[in-house]
């Protein structure tokens, strides 16, 4: 529950999952929110609650990515 390597692997898993969203805005948001989330909670003494929250978010992100990718993408890509 919070060793350095576990935290790093959770962060990496979240980032890797977020990269798979078909939507530009969601990709960028997941990346930014993950990095900021881990950075903000870096100095907490009791990190167990934040760790549990992050794990729950990982489940949600993976499920959302699968669902969003199941539908065909819109006919044209975003201009970004």
């Amino acid at each position: 529950m919070g060793s350095r390597s576990e935290l790093l692997s959770l962060c990496r898993a979240l980032l890797r999952a977020g990269r798979q969203f078909p939507h530009y805005n969601l990709r960028e948001y997941t990346k930014r929110r993950t990095m900021d989330g881990f950075r903000m909670n870096k100095n907490l003494t009791d990190q167990s609650k934040a760790y549990a929250e992050a794990k729950a978010q990982l489940v949600v992100v993976e499920r959302s990515v699968k669902l969003y990718s199941l539908y065909p993408p819109p006919k044209t890509k975003n201009i970004m």
Partner: protein
């Protein structure tokens, strides 16, 4: 650590998913061409719609019109929509109990966001229905003693239309003017209150210009004179801290799709202590405390509740991000252009809304040129008519400036690159239009446009 960064960058550059998406895109192009779709034609991945060619889906900067559903909210909605399909008002079996539980959980989530008790939340089909119920319901209930309603000129169309409906029924309505920065004049409000005033309705955050009204002071004035205070907080909840007790609010309308929730759901907060009474708009089986009959849409209500809880958790983080983006947008535009006016007070404003007017530019042509940025001029509710927005007219903005106003809506998912691109596109379009404009040439030479005597033929 550096090697990890390098390896992850390389991995990202070679990552499959983007390739997979474009492969699927080519297949769908072939299939669509085979179906002979005549409404949109695309070559080189550009779209031709309504006579304009755009090279891709525009970047979305219209968060006041609506917001995309947050994937976390979507996840919560699907979770329940699949299994908990019972009618929450069926009291005899598990399906009903489960659905009722889900609705109660959502009620608690919404109530926590605004500092109310769950028993005071009534779910509706949106902020428009909530506004209608509040304004018409209160006045109809007290129609024997109270005949007067006070509202402002910058309210949402549904409130203004409800007040017009009340006027046709015989009530009197005072439309308070606003100052040039969009805020209500508290002295005028105090003077306008009469002994037979039944309701004061002032929206918390305006959807067009984004100004935040002085809610605490208005609440105090209403408490002194013992008048119920209704506010349309559709744009305010989840974005600025809202506390119904501090603001002394009797009724508050909320909307789901402005806080990254589903469309078609909203809520009305009806205070219980001291009790405010309403006549319901939807009559029927007496659901939702008798104030809104009809089966509750469990899936959407759950989405609304999840969106409210998410908004409560993320409010500070989002506020910081959106404020940074707003400054970036404003400074970026101001650096390259002069004659840019912000409509509405800069100090008392919600940071996600930036309404700019560009002088010496024609409004329609500006919007036509900005097709790669999804923005709006005026609000979606009034865009069917040709006249400039009534909100800007109430602020005292000149006709020509009102026509060139654009409303940029920044939200949780907007990125820095999108803002930079929007700045670049806007500046390019305005410069192009100004170069063609003879009025701008005259202004540059120092002629004062307002004092010209145009020759009559």
């Amino acid at each position: 650590m550096a090697s990890k960064v390098i390896s992850s960058t390389i991995r990202r550059a070679l990552s499959k998913p983007h390739g997979a998406v474009s492969r699927r895109h080519h297949l769908s192009t072939v299939a669509a061409a085979a179906a002979a779709d005549t409404s949109t034609a695309y070559e080189d991945e550009s779209i031709l719609m309504k006579g304009v060619r755009i090279s891709g889906r525009p970047l979305y900067l219209d968060m006041q019109a609506t917001t995309p559903i947050d994937p976390r909210v979507f996840d919560a909605m699907n979770d329940s929509g699949i299994n908990e399909y019972g009618n929450p008002h069926s009291r005899t079996h598990l399906y009903g109990w489960e659905a009722e539980n889900a609705v109660e959980v959502a009620r608690i989530q919404v109530a926590k966001l605004i500092g109310a008790s769950p028993k005071e939340i009534i779910f509706m089909s949106g902020a428009t229905e909530a506004n209608n119920t509040a304004v018409k319901g209160v006045m109809h209930f007290y129609r024997d003693t109270k005949k007067h309603v006070i509202t402002t000129q910058t309210e949402h169309k549904c409130v203004l239309d409800s007040c017009r409906h009340l006027q046709q029924e015989g009530f009197e309505v005072t439309y308070l003017p606003v100052k040039t920065d969009g805020l209500v004049d508290l002295e005028m409000l105090r003077e306008a209150i009469r002994p037979d005033t039944g309701l004061v309705s002032i929206m918390a955050v305006n959807n067009e210009i984004g100004v935040i009204q002085p809610m605490e002071e208005i609440g105090m004035i209403c408490k002194e004179h013992n008048v119920p205070f209704h506010t349309d907080a559709a744009q305010a909840i989840g974005k600025i801290p809202v506390d119904v007790k501090k603001w002394n609010i009797a009724l508050m309308s909320m909307s789901g799709h402005k806080i990254y929730g589903p469309k078609g759901v909203g809520a009305l907060f009806v205070r219980r202590r001291p009790r405010i009474r309403l006549e319901p708009l939807m009559n029927g089986g007496g659901q939702e405390r008798g104030l809104r009959s009809g089966t509750a849409s469990t899936q959407q209500i759950l989405g609304f509740g999840a969106a409210c809880e998410l908004a409560m958790r993320e409010m500070e983080y989002d506020e910081k991000w959106i404020k940074g983006l707003q400054e970036r947008l404003l400074n970026g535009v101001r650096e390259k252009l002069d004659g840019v006016v912000v409509n509405g007070s800069m100090e008392s404003r919600y940071s996600g809304n930036l309404n700019l007017s560009f002088a010496y530019v024609e409004g329609e042509s500006l919007l036509m040129g900005l097709k790669e940025v999804a923005v709006s001029s005026g609000s979606a509710c009034t865009s069917a008519s040709l006249e400039p927005s009534y909100v800007l007219r109430a602020l005292g903005v000149d006709e020509d400036m009102a026509h060139t106003s654009i409303r940029f809506g920044i939200g949780r998912f907007t990125t820095k690159e999108e803002i930079d691109k929007a700045v670049e596109l806007t500046v390019r379009q305005v410069v192009k239009l100004r170069e063609m404009s003879p009025l701008y040439e005259m202004v540059k030479e120092g002629i004062d446009i307002k004092n010209i005597q145009w020759s009559q033929h």
